[in-house]
Symmetry: C2
Subunit: 298 residues, 2 copies
């Protein structure tokens, strides 16, 4: 398997100034894998309950995502309900872990020698269990969030020490490192182990940092940010998918991966759930990438 | 005169987490002209009081800035005192307009046929008086702030209608246009008259917008933002100075002007007052520009 993605598979209820949806497909592993499948073979690891609609399974299959690692358990699927009063911050109204509470990520034999691995934002103890099951991937990456930074810091630091790329929100890197200057914070995070730190800055884009490398991507601007849910996971999925397809991990390729991540995230936010991203083809993505080049090159 | 800059000339007292200074050189016209003089002939229009230290006059002269438009009046120089509790927002502790209260911008004969004109952030009535005195410049630009947006909106809109480039902070364009989406806000602002809108986003860089053009610049990141005072004016000064020196106003040149503005602003924030910017030469600026290219091109 070229790229394996581990994370949540969810049913979401989301309200934004643009409208309201209920029981739609969501979760970090879903956003990331639908983003990456435009670039490379992708297998998903996650868990759903018996209530998970067959149409969502069909969507993932039709897109070509391998579901060998998707467990189905007795009980209900992980459920998240949130409202965006502004488009930068979600207020969580309800979280029901359901089958996700006992998630035990088992990596299928066929995934264990994957080239690239993305650990979505889940309990660092589970992230570690996944790392223990894979055989020497070319590149491992992870995402995390404030909940683990404050609640399971020692375990989180153990995972961070072992991976190559850390994806993290701007607020959360300040929380992780207790440093306000973004460059200094990135350096402190890198000293924790990763070769590359990718900081997601919401409507201000993202930056990639290592001691001898710095790269800024803007957002790909859209007129209507309908629903920001999954933007960060789509960014990571586009980034990882492009790099995995390329096979080369060097700075020129990382620059491009940042831009593919940017374009992929822009598709996610233009509609609820995966409504826009799931229909985007590579041609559409390349057209946006070309525009993005005009927006930054001088 | 190639470029004329109109604005405040001030004595500042500033406190930041890095230290505290008193009675140092400041003001929008000073920051912008010391930024632009690296690129082109620049004349300043402003007013100081009898207390204005001769050493500041000498500094401006030595840098090659034309002071024919700098009036000296009985009374004290404009004084501003502020504290930065974080490095994004200044809290004003004291403002004494002094001689600036009766500022009557008289454009010297030698300035009236200037090619480029920058109207720093002053009363829109004064900005209009300056526009009435110049003869058909190639490009006119202005800055403004929340105080005028709320306090003198009709007069401000009259000025905006007449100029080519509007420099404005991100918060302030939302205030001016009553629109939260940055692209839509930029379009509404452009519909007010200017050919180009340049939105300054603090630590997130800047963007330039017109109906058929969009360009993002990041900040040039520095490890220690010692004092952000004057960053926006230095950005505008670098931008205008580069364009005026080039003489061509087209999109490729505007892209470069954005980047020269970015580099110039980075010098300003690395020390109090103009301590770093005043000593920077073109070679130093070009080196940073080269780095900046690596940070954005893919």
């Amino acid at each position: 398997m070229k790229l394996v993605i581990v994370g949540s598979v969810a049913l979401d209820a989301v309200k934004t100034p643009y409208g309201e949806v209920e029981n739609v497909l969501g979760g970090s592993a879903v956003y990331a894998s639908i983003a990456s499948i435009n670039f490379c073979e992708t297998g998903i690891v996650g868990v759903v309950g018996r209530d998970f609609p067959q149409e969502h399974i069909e969507l993932l299959k039709e897109d070509g995502i391998c579901l060998e690692g998707l467990q189905k358990k007795a009980g209900k699927t992980f459920f998240w309900k949130g409202v965006y009063n502004n488009l930068n911050n979600a207020e969580t109204l309800d979280t029901q872990l359901n089958v996700f509470a006992d998630f035990n990520p088992v990596i299928p034999e066929n995934y264990r020698n994957c080239d690239f691995l993305f650990l979505g934002n889940i309990d660092p103890i589970l992230q570690m269990q996944v790392l223990d099951q894979v055989k020497n991937p070319v590149l491992t990456a992870m995402d995390t969030m404030n909940f683990w930074i404050t609640g399971k810091r020692p375990e989180l630091l153990e995972v961070i020490k072992r991976i190559d790329v850390l994806f993290i929100n701007e607020e959360e890197i300040h929380m992780l490192t207790e440093e306000k200057n973004i460059l200094k914070a990135a350096q402190i995070a890198q000293d924790m182990g990763p070769k590359l730190i990718v900081i997601k800055r919401g409507e201000y884009g993202a930056l990639a940092y290592s001691r001898d490398f710095l790269f800024f991507s803007p957002v790909f601007p859209v007129l209507d940010v309908v629903d920001p849910t999954g933007a960060g996971d789509s960014f990571a999925g586009g980034f990882m998918g492009y790099l995995a397809a390329s096979g080369k991990v060097d700075y020129p390729e990382i620059r491009k991966a940042m831009m593919y991540g940017t374009v992929t995230a822009s598709l996610t936010v233009e509609d609820f759930s995966l409504n826009k991203l799931k229909n985007a083809d590579r041609k559409f993505i390349e057209d946006r990438l070309q525009k993005l080049r005009e927006y930054v090159e001088f």
